[in-house]
């Protein structure tokens, strides 16, 4: 072996310091991976407790105030510490430079700073639980006027979200410059892997939407600390303006969450279909289209707040429009599989599960996007079910999918594929048992975030809670299986276990310190296979 892998490399610092002071994009990715999975497991545990509380009407295990704190924390941790950073900070950091044929990102030190901001924000969240008025109970949306009035420690919690937002902005900035400046010779824009296009679109949203959330959160802090009248109706402010500013960020944020996941799908499908991607251009452009139109639909979170009919009609129309590029992607993915010689390996199965679950989430999004049905369904469990199908079934599922796809490359180890498939099967069964009844009870009128409910909803709550146990079993199997693979003595040094075509499969496993000894030159598109029979030769 004439190279030193990034895992074995001994730099200026040893042990843990060699990790937390390293500006190597791959080591930073692993730092993020460990942090994200930890936060995911914490928030998942909180979610399981919430489901347990909902098993019976009235009190089951916790009191109402604790329940409010639990759903707020579940949301804040999942959204700000897991889903939004999610795929870009782990797989983006690790693979973006390799896929572009570069030795690192454009600003490696800034990259490390992003991780420190992320971890710093996470610590602030934890501290906010124990000081001041205790755990925040506003829901992850921090709506005024309640967030101005509650005694819980909103000020510190929103400051934590602000700091994490800063981390997100810097990652986005770093990726944009990397993609513009660090592509290897021959890698034109339309020869970039589609995962990179997903990251590129996401980075722009991170960059341009997050500051709006930043200023909104600062205003909440200033209002609570100094009593400045901006949103407080008692001081002439308008709480609806808060909702506007909040969703101007937080709606595009759902595309921050899902676009990289979609990019990942566009990597996995051609690899396991043994085929070039169908419709490279449309998939790449649909990412940009989603990012752009996604800016203009925030009002659909406010259909029942009394905003004008004209604006509601426009927001509803744009919401339908944004479904089109998502549909374009789905059809192109399916068309890629068509007549491919598909290998049903574990990562591919994640993608299949994603397409089904995400389609249910997307279509129910249209039900919520139309004005009439939304009035009936707004703030019910239908909404909860919808966003768990798109967020958890979209980004969450594919986070694990990506982990199973790139695990051998990242660590030079392999997991047990049978166990992974069983874990996934339980995941999918548990997921649908958990969330599908929520569509039904939401349609029947069960409001979200309520601590108590009428007895007729209990059957759905019981099914849902049982589903949460199955889902958690599946997730634990997946996680334990990966950890077991990681700890096993057996090395797995095959540079290309799946037959992938992008650059990361052309470097050794695990990658060496600066990825490439010699910067590669690219001649073909990312999914070009020279062993393929070309159409003109085939008949």
């Amino acid at each position: 072996m004439d190279y030193v892998s990034y895992l074995d490399y001994k730099g200026k610092h040893k042990g843990l310091l060699g990790w937390i002071l390293s500006t190597d994009h791959k080591r930073i990715a692993i730092l993020y991976l460990v942090s994200l999975v930890s936060f995911f497991l914490i928030a998942m545990t909180i979610g399981v407790l919430m489901r347990l509380e909902m098993l019976t009407p009235g009190k089951t295990i916790v009191d109402p105030q604790t329940y409010n704190a639990l759903f707020t924390l579940h949301g804040v941790i999942m959204i700000f510490l897991f889903i939004i950073p999610g795929i870009p900070v782990v797989f983006g950091n690790f693979f973006l430079p390799i896929m572009l044929g570069a030795k690192d990102v454009a600003f490696p030190r800034l990259n490390l700073l992003s991780w420190y901001l992320y971890i710093g924000g996470a610590f602030l969240v934890v501290i906010s639980l124990f000081v001041g008025g205790g755990p925040i109970d506003t829901g992850w949306t921090f709506y005024v006027p309640y967030s101005l009035r509650t005694q819980s420690n909103v000020t510190l919690a929103v400051f934590a979200a602000f700091v994490i937002g800063f981390s997100s902005i810097l990652t986005g900035l770093n990726f944009i410059v990397t993609i513009h400046r660090m592509r290897c010779p021959g890698m034109t824009w339309f020869k970039m892997p589609l995962f990179v296009w997903g990251l590129y679109s996401t980075s722009w949203i991170q960059l341009l939407a997050t500051p709006v959330l930043g200023i909104t959160l600062i205003l909440i802090m200033l209002e609570r600390t100094f009593g400045i009248g901006i949103f407080d109706p008692a001081l002439g402010g308008d709480p609806l303006l808060y909702q506007h500013l909040f969703w101007i960020y937080s709606h595009p944020a759902v595309y921050i969450m899902v676009l990289p996941a979609m990019g990942l799908v566009s990597e996995i499908i051609p690899t396991f279909s043994k085929k070039d991607i169908f419709g490279y251009g449309p998939i790449a452009m649909s990412s940009l289209a989603i990012a752009f139109i996604g800016y203009l639909v925030w009002g659909h979170h406010m259909f029942s707040t009394g905003i004008s009919d004209t604006s509601r009609a426009i927001f509803s129309f744009l919401t339908f429009i944004v479904a089109i590029p998502s549909g374009v992607k789905i059809f192109n993915w399916v068309a890629t599989m068509y007549k491919g010689s598909i290998e049903t390996r574990a990562p591919f199965m994640f993608v299949v599960a994603f397409i089904v679950i995400f389609s249910i989430g997307g279509l129910t999004g249209l039900v919520l996007g139309s004005l009439n049905t939304d009035i009936h369904l707004t703030d019910t469990y239908f909404v909860v079910a919808h966003f768990h199908y798109v967020m958890f079934g979209g980004m969450g599922l594919l986070f694990f999918g990506g982990l199973h796809y790139w695990f051998p490359k990242m660590f030079g180890k392999m997991y047990n594929e049978r166990a992974a498939k069983w874990g996934l099967l339980l995941f999918v069964i548990g997921f649908n048992t958990l969330y599908f009844p929520m569509f039904i009870m939401g349609y029947l009128g069960m409001p979200r975030r309520y601590y108590d409910y009428l007895p007729e909803y209990q059957i759905y709550h019981v099914i849902s809670t049982v589903g949460s146990w199955i889902l958690v079993t599946g997730i634990l199997i997946l996680v334990i299986n990966l950890i077991k693979g990681l700890l096993s003595k057996e090395k797995y040094l095959d540079p290309n276990p799946w037959g992938g075509t992008t650059l990361e499969w052309k470097v050794p496993t695990p990658p060496e310190l600066e990825n490439f000894q010699e910067i590669p030159t690219v001649e073909h598109g990312p999914y070009y296979r020279d062993n393929l029979i070309k159409p003109e030769n085939s008949h």
Binding site: R181, L207, L208, V212, L222, L235, L241, L245
Partner: protein
Amino acid sequence: MNNEATIGHAHVHRDDVGSKMGMWLFLFTELLLFGGMFILYASYRFMYPENFKVAAMHLDTLIGSVNTILLLTSSLTVALSIVALQRKQKMFSVFLLMFTVAAGGAFLVNKFFEWSTKIGHGIYPKGPEMANLSDGEVVFYGLYYVMTGLHALHVIVGLIFIGFMIVFILKGKQTFDNHQKLENAGLYWHLVDIIWIFLFPLFYLIH
């Protein structure tokens, strides 16, 4: 600088275009940060047109104008300092940056007196005079303190940046053929300037 040259030496990686691009992207985020505030200003002005007029009459246009002149001049001197450095006039460049710092400092001093006068009159959040004001005026002053305060914070950060540049030039770390950091500091200072150009008419001039 082309790609091959950039990647050839990862450790001594220097990419001025990339560095400038990063700075511009950061400025976009700053614009959107203030953009959120400008949206609020526009909405509330639309909601309380009469109150906003009354409140705006009580701001001192003279101090505002002096501050505008100070900031515009300081932006000019930053731009000139880059040209001076490119022409290898190192000390002149440092002098121009020091002038910038002085002008920025004077801006902050003016701002301090302006705020203290208002606070002396009891006009500040939860202040004694606020109860006598209409809702729209309370919102106006809320926005006034937050927006000019946030802007002043940016002035301070900008001054620190420029202070570092003075040190870098004196130590020879920023030279006539390697001055991207100075350019980035200049860009940041221009942003501070341009935001003030919008704040000034919105708060002082539109009656």
